[in-house]
Point group: D2
Chain length 278, copies 4
């Protein structure tokens, strides 16, 4: 039996858990997991409930709305594979990792297509029978290129866009069409080394640890809500290139981990931060 | 206002969260944090609720008992400093760390006394105005020594015993008097290197990572429920002695972290494992 | 210009570094990196020197032999891609990762073939144009099966065998033919959870950290020299299956990291431990 | 027998290791450990040799100078406890940790005194019979306060100053008197969260990992050469205050680890980075 995920957030007040679980109980649903969190700075309540069982969806949602404050945001998702498009540039490691997981049914998503501004990942993508769209940025303005990318995407109507080392900066206009639906992997431990060439920066600074950050993309570059981060130790013996090599393994694992959280509805985005139920 | 922690576990059935939060709501209590977990192998339900507010304790507990299955185990604790006795042997690092935290009000506990089978930590303990009991094991049977230790402890009636590198094996008879109330720090990443001299074992085996494990003590040596673990990388360049030195820093931090979880009622022990709400 | 790696180990005595670098200096070679280590328990000296430059190899080695104690073991390798055969069973994640790295020239090795006792990884392997040999173990004795595997391997004369989640135990007879040339990835943080189903064992034990270990295979199962280890935190919320999922990401990264060390001659094996120059 | 540490760096050229070890060999010294590194961007050579044995120091150094390029920087230190002064403000955790290690002979240093601009750590310091100087900054200009601090320090002529959560910014004039001799612990994973209140910044940014950085102090605040870094995971459930609490354990361990490297002459500082031999 399919399971459903109920995501509710609203200003905190007494009795919210009671009121929500009352509705769930009334419908005789079987709670698989339940998590709540109250953000104390803004006194904001978050609850994620995963349950199985048959129920009249409209009625269920209406009962919830009647029980909860008007400001409550209620989302109800069936656990199912999400449709995604992947954007890449030249580096293969994140795309490879996602294509492999996809091929072995480990991604919780259907990769509808791969879009790249270079051609070198076309062969790889084809091996896995995923459509590949080469959309060069050369000779095009940023807006023109984005318009072409958007055209390619629109046919698929994906739920999420995954930037698997897509090295082009997206315009706010583009981003606004996919609020909290674009996931990027940044090749550094944000907020350290914002911007380009973080491994060169890390090498220059002589850091002893490097990392990677998966985050939602918003209109402030590299400043969207962080989903997952991980690090590895480095030493003075590593060149910037070797740091980048080591970093790629971190990047692909962190990206995959963040996608698992996103695709399984395990997080909320609130005031540029993520609340995660793992 | 003081906060209270409600800990409930019982076989899972629908509606448990609803029934518990109903009682909390009825008493108009303010939930600070709430966590549930259902262990799926045995279908066992765990819930930890921290709340503030005044309430009639007897009535509250009775209502809970009436709402919940007869098998439910219900515990209600006020958040308060726990009384503890520390047992040590010769090594200072865990004891030092606890005495310092205690002196600066960071331990969530009152250290009532330190008991050791050696005298070398007496000066240290005295610096912090904590009573020190030297109870040598020499010339005594294990049972005689334990009886003397127990005598010293009994006067304090501590809630928990902390073994801060106490290198004597306790008898089941002793342990049974403090079920899930003795916390030990084991100088290895259990279950690797059970027993004595784990750093020598780690060195001999040529491992690349060493660790430490804080656990409750039960009658099977080194096999009680694990509370916290941590690791650090080591290399072939480290001698067994250097591994031990590096390991000590891990040990003291892991022990302190585990005590925070225990003293704040952030965990359940179930079937030799811990369920942790952090 | 190609670089060469000189690996020397022998009982320690004064002047070894001087004597070795004297020969290198005399041939006007350019040292790229140089590392020494003296194991203090057995007073054994290890030195790894990577250098570039043209030189008469025979003469160079003879001069070294004349300078060093008779017991010195001297190896001189050109930095080049190693020929390897991969053995796998049903799980794809380590094999996938190696095939991808291989396809993008990141492996420091030529994968000559993949051998498996199941067929489900054949399609994957074919995508990357690597020969796949299906050698079922069914209806065969261990010896018969191994003989067949060995036949397949022999045609390739590989330098190393990589066990990428190969779930069959190899006989000492087989292993002895590839001393320190078989690398295995063990799905646990050895020496914890030796043997089968380590994730089930980890789950049952309630550990808070799991890991993976890459090691050379010797005739004592799971007891060969450890090359690399890594860990990730887990929690009571993870099932044994989820621990295994999380563990797979660690396994593939640790295996790749260990192969980099092996294929680049960055390690010595001595008394069942590895001395690593990274 | 005491051991000595020889530290040499100079522009790279062929034969340096040979020339240095020749001198060591000629004096019949027993090498305990030996490490070299060539920085490839600037082609700069570093070598650290630890050895034991009696030798004529002047003659030894002269032979080295005659063998090596004129630009070579040669340092020869006996392994011995270093004299240090600790500067602190209000937070105790790093100071406590150092006082404890000092009391148990684990610091490789003599703490000559503690200087603070507050009085609250005086009792702690006194417990360990270390002189405490209270030098308030109130009503003084930065320069006046620094002059007073400098006066207190000068009497001790320490080799190193350790800033154990000293929350005052030092002037370049002060810093220049102690080039690469002031070690600071910064409560964040530099270069993330430079400046004040890093835990608040980390909380606001919603990072999933926090860290601490030990570094030499130069005249660019928070930008001196990094010696050691470490991190711990955090979650949305942690307040900025809880992140700070967790961070303190990382800070004290990282500071102690960095001091071990500094006091044992295990590092070079070169172009604002550290070369570490561990």
């Amino acid at each position: 039996m399919k399971s459903s995920v109920l995501l509710i957030h609203c200003p905190d007040q007494p009795g919210l858990v009671f009121k929500i679980t009352q509705v769930v109980y009334r419908h005789n649903l079987n709670i698989i997991s339940n998590g709540e969190f109250v953000e104390r700075n803004f006194n904001h309540f978050f609850m994620r409930t995963e349950f199985s069982g048959a129920f009249p969806q409209q009625e269920f949602l209406e009962e919830l709305r009647n029980s909860l404050p008007a400001a409550a945001v209620i989302r109800l998702n069936e656990r199912q594979k999400r449709n995604i498009c992947i954007l890449a540039t030249k580096e293969h490691h994140c795309l490879s990792d996602l294509l492999i997981r996809h091929a072995f049914q480990e991604l919780d998503a259907n990769i509808q297509c791969v879009i790249s501004n270079y051609q070198n990942l076309e062969d790889l993508t084809n091996k896995f029978s995923v459509p590949f769209h080469f959309i060069s940025h050369e000779g095009k303005s940023r807006e023109e290129h984005e318009a072409r990318v958007l055209d390619a995407i629109k046919g698929y109507a994906p739920e999420f866009l995954v930037l698997a080392k897509y090295m082009r900066i997206l315009t706010p206009k583009f981003i606004d069409q996919f609020e909290n639906r674009i996931i990027n992997i940044h090749h550094s431990f944000l907020p350290a080394f914002i911007g380009a060439n973080p491994y060169n920066q890390a090498y220059e600074r002589g850091v002893k640890i490097i990392g990677a950050t998966a985050h939602f993309v918003n209109s402030n570059l590299d400043e969207g809500p962080i989903i997952a981060q991980s690090v590895i130790p480095v030493a003075h013996t590593h060149s910037a290139k070797e740091m980048a090599q080591a970093g790629r393994d971190v990047e692909k694992i962190v990206l995959a981990r963040s996608l698992k959280l996103v695709f399984n509805d395990q997080l909320f985005v609130y005031r540029n931060k993520t609340i995660i139920f793992d």
